[in-house]
Point group: C2
Chain length 290, copies 2
């Protein structure tokens, strides 16, 4: 079975960089490839197989490390627009003119920026746990509610993700434990973890993304793709208000929120997320509702 547990890491060269990626799943004439754009400090191994693998049964998935992440060369841009340029270069190197996209957290901002700059790049968009330019409270890791975990020396490796991606309920924490166990399923050919220089540059990009000029959220009117916006109700990293703004200002978006869930709502409710996403992506309707 096509899986992010076993898909080989591949590389593609552009004039500027060498990008690491994984491409797996069932390509078909009926479905566009699905590009997955990753969260803060996340690399190829941070894509939960419970999310990727069910989606890969009916379409081809493309995960990639943006410049300066994992085994990709280069340095992490300090703006979302810079990351979008890198993603365009990567798609060009694969000869992909158009695809579907799941943009998660930081990746959702990159997806919005790409859609603004080149509308034809995406057929349909799924934006999870993300924010519009000019959004609020975007990845302020210095907040006490996050620092208590990020600064806890007893939490090791992915244990921090269990705490900060999931709500402080037994049910959500249990889902978080299963999530980090799944991230460890891949034993060979693992990606390179991100260091502090990645976090620093990406944090600069968040601070820039909170700024806006002109009428707030007016950019969103120009993103006309059918879009599915998803957020957990208890997201401490990028609060759900940002998804309310996204879905209210994008002209063609359906919003879905999940209960009992934080930033990792797609991992907690992976059965629902993959079912809903597949149904949404399978639609050819002009309007987003599916």
């Amino acid at each position: 079975m096509a899986s992010n547990v076993s898909a080989p890491t591949q590389f593609v060269d552009t004039k500027g960089e060498r990008y690491a990626y994984r491409r797996f799943g069932k390509a078909s004439a009926d479905t566009a490839p699905l590009l997955l754009l990753q969260h803060f400090t996340g690399n190829l191994d941070n894509w939960d197989p419970a999310v990727t693998d069910p989606l890969a049964t009916d379409r081809e998935l493309i995960l990639f490390d943006n410049a300066g992440i994992g085994q990709s060369s280069g340095t992490v841009p300090k703006t979302v627009a810079g990351m979008a340029q890198q993603a365009f270069a990567f798609l060009d190197a694969l000869n992909l003119d158009t695809c579907d996209v799941v943009g998660y957290s930081l990746g959702g901002m990159v997806a919005q920026q790409m859609a603004l700059e080149k509308p034809s790049v995406f057929r349909r968009m799924i934006l999870v746990g993300t924010a519009p330019r000019g959004g609020e409270d975007i990845m302020h890791l210095e907040k006490p509610s996050l620092q208590k975990f990020l600064g806890d020396p007893t939490l090791r490796g992915y244990e921090v993700l269990q705490k900060i991606f999931f709500a402080p309920t037994p049910s959500s924490q249990s889902a978080g434990k299963q999530f980090i166990d799944r991230l460890a399923l891949r034993k060979d050919d693992r990606d390179k973890p991100s260091g502090p220089e990645v976090a620093g540059a990406q944090t600069a990009a968040f601070r820039d993304w909170e700024q806006y000029k002109g009428e707030r959220f007016s950019d969103l009117e120009n993103i006309k793709q059918p879009t599915l916006v998803i957020n957990g109700i208890f997201d401490e990293m990028i609060p759900v208000q940002n998804s309310y703004w996204l879905s209210a200002h994008l002209p063609n978006a359906v919003l879905m929120t999940y209960p009992d869930a934080g930033h990792g709502s797609l991992f907690q409710f992976h059965d629902s997320f993959t079912r809903q996403s597949a149904a949404f992506l399978s639609s050819d309707a002009a309007w987003a509702p599916y």
Copy 2:
């Protein structure tokens, strides 16, 4: 085919009242009957066959006129709690202990009140275009944005619904025209339209519902059913903020919002609404995501 265009109006007597109702669709051991609770001044004929009929292919639907509406006897209660008592009496008369529910607008308030008073009455709940107790801007028909249509003598019959249930875009208004055409499909055995005494009592119930005691929205913690909350982004009658509050404070709710749509979002996107509702109702999971 089972349809609200053709289902006969039936009557059932309780100690207090005689209730008009329609019951149709495919009953089965796998599905609970689905009770539909109606909007402000709506009667049995206000249920769009494009919403009822697809749902009726896999379950039994029960539409009813609460006391003082349509061909039911009695007077319209001036509180949501009074309406809930009538709905309980109606269900008792049908010997129904438990069912699923679609509560639309005012009907969604009645559904919440019933779930609070007798949690076992509902297995799963769908709340569309409605508000929690203590919500804001609930059915203020005196607002200029609504009065310009409600006070327009050139609009006849259902034409007012096209204006106030749908967004002021060509696409939404076109969907609204199709909606009111569908409401006119039933030719025989039509229900009795509501008069001003219905509107007056129901408006009093809305004003009461805006009031709350104690901590705002804390009642919602006690509604534990899996719940699907749906709202149009451009709802002038009960703004989407009320559905944000519902889904954030109900412990087990999924929110779905529709673009380009007003109070009648379920009628505009009837294909999506019935597909999503059927998927949600078909789930036996403890958590609402489906």
